[in-house]
Amino acid sequence: MDNGGRPTDQIPLLRTLAPALRKLEHGLRHWLDTRRRYPLSTITHATLEGLAVDLKRQAEALDVDRPLLVVMLMGGTGVGKSTLLNALAGGNIAQASFTRPTTRDPVVYYHESIKPDRLDPSLRHCRLIPHDRKELEHKILVDTPDLDSNDLANRDKLQAVLPVADIVLYVGSQEKYHDRLGWELFLQQRRRRAFAFVLNKWDRCLGPTTVTGLRPDEDLLRDLQTEGFENPLLFRTCAQLWVDRVKNNGGDMTRPMGEQFQDLVQWLEMGLTRLEIEAIKARGVSQLLHQLQDTLRSACPPDLHERADQVCNVWEDILREEAAADSEVLLNTLEPYQREIEHHFMVEGQKRFRGLMAGYLQLFTRMKYAGSTLRDRIPFLPRARDAVKTTTSWDLSAFTRACSDAAANRHLDARGKALANRLLVTADGQGFPLELLADPVESAVKLDWRQRHAHALVEVLHDVEQQWAKPTGTRRWLQVFIVWMANWVPALAFVAALVMLLWRYFDPTSKGYNVQLLDVFLPFVILLVVLIILQLLVALLLPLRWGTIRGEFQRQLEVRLRKELAAAYLPIPADVAELLREERRLVEQMQNETREVAVWLEGREQAASIAGLYGK
């Protein structure tokens, strides 16, 4: 308790702590205010909010030459908090009476040298009682409302000022030292502040010579020991006696055995020197920082990268199945329109041919597919209810969009929703927190899948067609050969037949040919025969039927859809994990900063004998 021999150059250290605390507070506040992906539990959030406020408060309280020590009396109604303060003050400053609850507003007992605006804001509006006692110059005593009466507003008032306390003087009486409400508040606050204990109305604790049970002070000490307070400061007092003595202007009084009010006064006046105050302040900050560290640890997002990889692996299988099922559904929707598609392929395929063959094929195709082009122009024809409306002029993109819509209405929308649920459930099974994935996955379901399916259909149709038009290997040579033949042979045959006819007509060798009228048709007949043979050849060697392209079509569509699905869903877990990594980095940074300040502080705490005020 003596301050003389110790170096005082350490003192500014406490003041230099203020900016560090402020910086921590800013960081924490900023982090709390920004949007985060990783959800905080309500309790963690509230704790962090409270810690931010406390940091700010501590920063301000330390940013002075000599910090003030706030000693707060806390306890149930009627235990004698106000009487105790009156006894300490040696006068009637706090109202004390038998009506419960008595004190309704906190009473602040402070040295007149302290300007009221130096007090913490939550204390400024209490009843302020200045004094001129040198021994209590840097200490503020606060009497608080009760914590257990029917007047619940009192409890709120207590909660409002409690965070200001550096030392809580837990006041109990014989009846109330064991009460649940007070004890719970003690447990809630014990990690944050220093605690000393007063057992008031000590005379009642002695009672009749007890045969059974523990004496209250022993009982209390035992409980405190189980809470980790090995050597707590406990004062057994009879405050009323001291108040009465002041009232009677001194005089004699009979103190019960073991009464320690004077020790309490001694401790408050002499025991709490500048060094102790500094140490308690430092300890208060350090407790705050430890709690901050603990809370931040529980608020730190987990590292989910490995989980994300696992989830991706599982999802790939699901998406593959989904792509297969989706392509099947889309293809089934196309099935009724196979003739249109064949027609489309045919028309496209015919573009390779020139001249006579081209004209012939065009005519043939038009006749062959008259039904499918006419179908939608004939009125009153019964149509299926959900038939895809094909436009009269073949519009590929409109057609695929219509198909995609029909498939979506019937199957794919429902499948999409089910897929999202399936993905979420499997991710949950892999230990990836569901709430992190739910939003991105559900927004991926809401992408315009109809449009995407329509695009996929068009492009795959186009690809298959291209593949068909430009085959590779022997088929390519076959195709080139046939096309070449088809482009030249009919014309050649026609010309040859014509030449032959002319030859016969002019008969240069005079063989006596007799050209008849029917012979004039011969070139046309030959041409037709050649065309038909060629067409048969094309149909045989380069077959184009729905059945043959369907398989290829489905394969390509499946690959395409798998890519689309993978692009939409697979990056989600990794993205979320990446976002969390960033948040994690921030939290860890805050933890590091907090740890640095805490380590810096540790030295100061050892400086004074205050260990009894804190439990383990």
Binding site: T99, R100, E175, L206, S372, L374, H411, R415, N421
Partner: protein, 597 residues
């Protein structure tokens, strides 16, 4: 009701309430509700039970209750007329109820069925601080010179409700409070406006117990002011029922040591008050029982509100299951029913048209008409081939249903995982999914599906067949139809011939006329069959709902409340309690009427 029946009823009701209480204690923040339930259970077994069980009304029970250190033991000593209770400065020393009774006489009252529920009677004298579910009876030899209550009363010294250890033993206090016919509520000058004891006092008043308030430890001069303040600040905010407020100031050691001789001026008014409330005993007991049954009846909703969260969670679960079912039904309709063709109906149409042809000799005429219509048939065949599209392939029914079921289960599982932290029910469902709920649902589905298939086996066939079989069974109608068709044919042909006379163009016009009538008949027949097909579709949807989605919904909805889970017990309790209270009330009313008449 006879004795075994009422015993069964009270036991069951007390059990149900007790189960709900235990359920509340497992959840955070439900301590208050748990207290109400314990008190209600105590009322059933300690108040109402003995009356229906024909127990004698004497002795009555006085319970001394109050916060720690308020002076309960002092008051108990005053009531019993001897220093029997250890007045002890350690707060919360007494941890189980202690009954003080006369030194002689048999303890018939402690032997009745279900007395004090789970509390066991201690055989050996033990210290009051024994922390166990027990009670003990101490025999007191009161000063024979003084008046004593112990002739008509048993005095109970109860544990407190304010210390932090009290959470463990408040149920014992409630058990005795439920038993008591008169309550003496002890409050000291420190405690009289405390929240926790006041809540307890309020509860006792709600149950209809007569309460005598004893204010202790004030300076004697302050007593009137303190009573006034108590009446204003505490009693004014409570429902009525406080009989009187007495005061006992801070007593000296001598007064404490021998209350009969030295504190008579405080003791006698107290004894008088209690005595008045206990006379005659039968009336006092009846009042106790009436209060109890009224409380049970009125506070029922209040009591069951302890399970409000659970009921809400169950409702949420039901809603989620229903959503899943709607989606399931929808998928079945859209993915299967709309594309299912039911080919049988096409065959039925052909059969129907065949049947409309003339039989017997008429076959000749029909044959002729058939030949005449050959060009029409050819044209129609060509056109339909050219114009009709192939049908979209129908996916098989079972895979569609299975897929839809998977979707349903996934939805439920996702919701369960998402809400697992919100309520125990969802956590229960989530663990259910982890060990085989989905498997169970699939098995249950398989069963439903088999039933569905059995009932569907020839449902479509039958409907399709019915189209022509009905006609077969009704020859009158069939013949009328045949006749009208024939008449139409004949009329058309005759009209053609009559209009144009017999000429070469009749070769074109007559087949044309015959074809037009045929077209008409075919059109009508087709419309009819299509209607039947549509009916068959909606019927199949209905059957599916009846055999699969309905039972599955029920199975899933009730899953959390089956298999011996806590929620099954909860539902049972919630269902049974109102009914039991009603029965109990009827029984009590009957009994009390018998007694008065």
């Amino acid at each position: 009701m006879d004795q075994p029946a009422t015993r069964a009823l009270t036991t069951q009701l007390a059990d149900d309430l007790g189960w709900l209480e235990a359920h509340c204690r497992r959840q955070p923040g439900q301590d208050l509700q748990a207290g109400w339930l314990r008190l209600a259970a105590g009322l059933v077994r300690n108040c109402i039970g003995p009356l229906l069980d024909d127990q004698p009304p004497a002795p009555l029970h006085v319970a001394v209750v109050g916060g720690a250190g308020a002076g309960k033991s002092t008051v108990a000593n005053m009531l019993s007329g001897a220093v029997a209770a250890e007045a002890n400065p350690q707060a919360g020393f007494t941890r189980h109820p202690i009954a003080y009774t006369n030194a002689n006489g048999v303890l018939t009252w402690s032997g009745h069925y279900g007395f004090l529920g789970p509390l066991q009677r201690l055989a050996e004298p033990s210290p009051s601080s024994l922390d166990a579910d027990v009670y003990q009876v101490r025999r007191v030899s009161a000063d024979p010179a003084s008046t004593s209550l112990l002739r008509d009363f048993v005095v109970w010294d109860c544990p407190d409700m304010t210390t932090w250890a009290a959470a463990g033993y408040v149920p014992r206090l409630l058990e005795v409070a439920a038993l008591a016919d008169v309550i003496v509520y002890v409050a000291s000058d420190e405690r009289y406006n405390d929240e926790v004891p006041t809540q307890f006092l309020q509860l006792l008043l709600q149950v209809g117990k007569p309460v005598i308030v004893c204010l202790l430890k004030m300076k004697e001069a302050d007593a009137p002011a303190m009573v006034a303040h108590f009446k204003k600040a505490v009693q004014g905010k409570l429902p009525g029922g406080v009989v009187s407020v007495l005061t006992i100031p801070f007593l000296s050691a001598a007064e404490l040591a021998d209350p009969v001789r030295n504190a008579g001026r405080f003791r006698i008014p107290l004894l008088n008050q209690v005595g008045v409330l206990g006379e005659p005993t039968a009336a006092a007991r009846t009042r106790t029982v009436r209060g109890a049954i009224r409380y049970l009846d009125h506070a029922q909703e209040h009591l069951l509100s302890a399970a409000r969260e659970d009921v809400r969670a169950l409702e949420d679960w039901r809603a989620v299951v229903q959503n899943g079912r709607a989606e399931f039904d929808n998928r079945y309709r859209r993915e299967y029913l709309t594309s299912a063709r039911f080919r049988r109906f096409d065959e039925a149409l052909v059969r129907l048209l065949d049947m409309l042809e003339l039989p017997g000799v008429g076959k000749l005429v029909s044959g002729t008409l058939w030949v005449i219509r050959t060009p029409y048939r050819l044209v129609k065949g060509f056109l339909s081939r050219a114009l009709s599209r192939p049908d979209a392939p129908t996916m098989p029914e079972q895979p569609i249903l299975e897929e839809a079921l998977s979707g349903w289960l996934d939805l439920l599982r996702k919701e369960a995982a998402r809400r697992a932290d919100a309520h125990l029910l969802w956590a229960h469902i989530e663990t259910g999914f982890a060990d085989g709920l989905a498997q169970g649902a699939r098995e249950s589905f398989e069963q439903c599906f088999r039933g569905f298939q059995l009932s569907m086996a020839d449902e479509v066939d039958r409907t399709a067949r019915a189209i022509y079989e009905d006609l077969e069974k009704n020859p009158g109608l069939l013949n009328t139809l045949r006749g009208s068709k024939f008449a139409m044919d004949v009329a058309a042909i005759t009209a053609t011939l009559a209009a144009g006379g017999i000429n070469w163009h009749d070769f074109i016009l007559v087949p044309l006329a015959a074809s037009v009538t045929q077209m008409l008949v075919e059109f009508l027949g087709k419309q009819y069959v299509e209607n039947q097909r549509e009916l068959a579709r909606s019927r199949q949807q209905l059957l599916m709902a009846q055999y699969i989605s309905g039972p599955m919904e029920e199975w899933l909805t009730s899953w959390p409340t089956t298999g011996g889970s806590a929620f099954e017990r909860l539902q049972q309790a919630l269902r049974r309690i109102p009914e039991s209270v009603r029965q109990l009330e009827r029984a009590v009313r009957g009994r009390l009427q018998n007694e008065t008449s």
